[in-house]
Symmetry: D2
Subunit: 320 residues, 4 copies
Amino acid sequence: MKTIGIVTSGGDAPGMNAAIRAVTRLAHSKGFQVYGFEKGWEGLLTNTYRVLTPRSVGGIIQLGGTILRTSRCLEFAKKEGKKKAAKALAKDKIEGLVVVGGNGSMKGAYELSKEASTLMVGVPATIDNDVYGTDETIGFDTAANTAVAEIDKIRDTAISHERIFIVEVMGRTRGFLASTVGLTVGAEIILIPEVPCNKQAIIKTLKESAKKGKKSSIIVAAEGIGDTRKLAKELEEKTGSEVRLSILGYAQRGGSPTARSRLLANLFANHAVQLLARGQGNRIVGLRNGKITSIELEKSCAQEKPLDLNLLKLANVLAT
Amino acid sequence: MKTIGIVTSGGDAPGMNAAIRAVTRLAHSKGFQVYGFEKGWEGLLTNTYRVLTPRSVGGIIQLGGTILRTSRCLEFAKKEGKKKAAKALAKDKIEGLVVVGGNGSMKGAYELSKEASTLMVGVPATIDNDVYGTDETIGFDTAANTAVAEIDKIRDTAISHERIFIVEVMGRTRGFLASTVGLTVGAEIILIPEVPCNKQAIIKTLKESAKKGKKSSIIVAAEGIGDTRKLAKELEEKTGSEVRLSILGYAQRGGSPTARSRLLANLFANHAVQLLARGQGNRIVGLRNGKITSIELEKSCAQEKPLDLNLLKLANVLAT
Amino acid sequence: MKTIGIVTSGGDAPGMNAAIRAVTRLAHSKGFQVYGFEKGWEGLLTNTYRVLTPRSVGGIIQLGGTILRTSRCLEFAKKEGKKKAAKALAKDKIEGLVVVGGNGSMKGAYELSKEASTLMVGVPATIDNDVYGTDETIGFDTAANTAVAEIDKIRDTAISHERIFIVEVMGRTRGFLASTVGLTVGAEIILIPEVPCNKQAIIKTLKESAKKGKKSSIIVAAEGIGDTRKLAKELEEKTGSEVRLSILGYAQRGGSPTARSRLLANLFANHAVQLLARGQGNRIVGLRNGKITSIELEKSCAQEKPLDLNLLKLANVLAT
Amino acid sequence: MKTIGIVTSGGDAPGMNAAIRAVTRLAHSKGFQVYGFEKGWEGLLTNTYRVLTPRSVGGIIQLGGTILRTSRCLEFAKKEGKKKAAKALAKDKIEGLVVVGGNGSMKGAYELSKEASTLMVGVPATIDNDVYGTDETIGFDTAANTAVAEIDKIRDTAISHERIFIVEVMGRTRGFLASTVGLTVGAEIILIPEVPCNKQAIIKTLKESAKKGKKSSIIVAAEGIGDTRKLAKELEEKTGSEVRLSILGYAQRGGSPTARSRLLANLFANHAVQLLARGQGNRIVGLRNGKITSIELEKSCAQEKPLDLNLLKLANVLAT
């Protein structure tokens, strides 16, 4: 292997730059050249890349976002797009491609692998933590801590005003972020798409909390549960208490990565480069049962990552 | 003077606890007893207070919110409410009352002063910074830093995706917070209620920024300018670029106060207790031209604090 | 089981309060009463405790330190001390005792188990991460992030001045904290007690870094490696460059726990209470291979936790 | 005026980059070209600079350190050094030079102004806040907040262990940083070089604090007071309590600047460029009585900035 490429695709996640740095330096230590494609799949379609060197990726380990930038690329979504990308890879003699991104990016890498002879290795990086094959994705821990820090602040004002707060966190269609955040801020109620939202039960819990002497309540809601604005109004009417809504926005996607997100970026990158050096591809690296390992891209794309509902049950008891 | 009261009213602000601690300890050093009324004006109406001692206010200087809690009290808004509060003050022999809060609280204190013989001293604490008579309020600096830290994170993802972001910050009907935050995050555009929103000009600026090579833009908008959701849609249509909206919510009202918010809390409390010790009341303390001073409550309530538009002009040049 | 006790012992760690809250609420959900012994083992010797209830542990999940306080207790270190503690447990009819702390506390719990009929369950909480039987301890992730954030700041000034910095982190006699921190800040060199310090190699690396164009270098050193002051002087003499030393102190032991430290606190507490409810004791809970599990206290105390030197090797390549 | 230079000199301070960005963009808006000299005065001696443009200073407002880097330059300290620098300025046709730095840098600018016809404007930026002519320097607020955040964490462990902590903060020979930090963390004792250290009084205060029920104490000491290590030992012997020392190091000099440090950077830069545009030089800009203004460099260099001891007196009362 002489040349590998790297691309960050889909929504950005803190730690992507740490992964770019690690892939570049580890690849160089094995004698590979590294091309960084710009703006996600778009960079493959337009064959826009820059050569990455150990020096050019210095000073980025602590930066949020991705120096290669990213995009959601409509053209790549079509079959012709993937063929065009495959041609670019062949023309540039890219023997291995490290794809850093979430669920959609892994699917893209898998589809592309059918058109290209380049070995694909997926590195899961998304704050949604919804990639099958890894217990945790790069960026998830950072987003969780950002949300926790914000909600700790919101609780100050919730307690001072004795109010109920609904705090909407990201996570797209899944409840991984909301579960971890809700449990670790000590939320009274956690709402996720994986569990049907029972308004009667919510109202009952809020009333019981009030009876127990809790003067304020925090409801952590995943964005995937639907319209939180409507929910806030409904709860206000039904409980007679002041209900406020706070939507934690895009800040969850940025910021300097935590130690853990950086660590995963380094470890995943290491495994990815090792796979390529061994001539293995079409796999996705991940953390499983505390170990860095990999599974087939195809398998990852075929399955939905299960969410452990025990966290929610534990949170319920702990909120008493 | 033997006994003074303290009350935190209206929206909470980081540094209120530092003010409670400072008023209590300074008052005790002069031999006064201190009653802390709970839940804002409501505590006066129901005569609910706790005796505050130097020990009981230990360990709170760094906490957001207010240990006395606060509320918006409808009954107090009426004349009878104020008479009832005045009676409670007379009954409890409260000779001085320190009112910690924003614009509305200062107006409440002024109105109450007409009904009560208790000396009122206002301590301006609000993230909105909209109290006439002080260049800065307790909590403003903390809220500004919270917003700046969030927007620094949002810029990571704005740059990675080459998107336009509208970030809505608090400030009620005024643009103090938005001006300072916009200038210090290097926002391309700042929108405040004091300046009419010219959509043509916004679109022109965004297009010029793009031409200059700026791949992303941050628009900081005060909540007082109206519906930012609508604005986001309109800009997306007119510019053809992706526009995202992030509403920085109640976290701006909480969190550990900054050094500066704590400093102002200490200095304001010191001046407030000194006024009361000298038998002076119906004044509001503040920072003017770098000095701690006070003006009449009546004067503060009669005027609207002017906003320095030079900050905006400077921001405009700096965003080039 | 009717009554359990909880004690925090040894050095404090962020997340101890989250563990106290979780143990208390989970135990109550099973119908147990909870006594919180104060000031570590000293509280057992003096039989000083407070009854903990679900309400009394509210609002502490986000606080650093331990509301039960802690101490290093000389009397308990002796056999008579342990007998006295055992008597107190018998007198109070404490059937289970949750011991939250580090290596030393686990050894104390094990020794105490020989004297007392109370079931002991250890919950590993220490920033040193040096407890055998768990891949990670409560507080470790928080300390790592505190150190990383500080070193990110130090790198600003290191780069501006083109200096070499030695940053000493905690970890007592072990290098767990230094390894993770060094890898995730991108340190040029990591020094830990588990690997003999080769000054020639350090100087060679620094000179090579300079040749490669690196204008500044960060050396992360575990406190266990010896006198960093002397090392700084020596490196300054031998390299001819400015060398600065920064000792990250006790702040690493405090601060609001990260999401991960809170999560481990909740999960460990859950497992600990489940063990006691099942009548099992003299075990220590932990995270092994991504799962919450437990091993015998005796086994944990008999062995030294191995440190994965692969992290260091990876860091070496990544620092190129 | 056609060309101005900018140099950052001496110790770095958070907000220097915000000042570089603001000077560059404001100068460009007036049609000036901007040269950024590298590595402090050394860049003038070696005539090493880069042309700064509005685009090249993008994305730096939030970064600690200085992109121009800085140094302490021995050659410049001599008269011949200044003559050499003056020649470089003449050769490059630099009509105005903005010098961003602390006390020493202002003295350097003043001495250089005697040799060069270039108009000098000083922009005070140092965490020490020791520049005569301004109530606050760029970077001071950031350093204060960094120290406050660290000490808030240290208090967690101080309370948990019921220990006395000495925390050494920076500030070189002066006590500005220690005073503000000590007051705003609620330190029991503040030690600064401007007030002779009375060990008897310290011990008395510590014993009184203990009697009042305070279980832990924080002593904030300026680095300028002398050997804190020795002090810690002495206090431990004399009080019989555990005394721990934490030296907050170079992290105080780095990190992302606070809103206030960025604001001052923008306002100072604005005033500096306005002075040069008006053909005025040999002045230092600053904040005095809440207004941005300037005084003569000579005057600033001739006087020592007074420290307000009232802050210490207030802190003493508040620590009761």
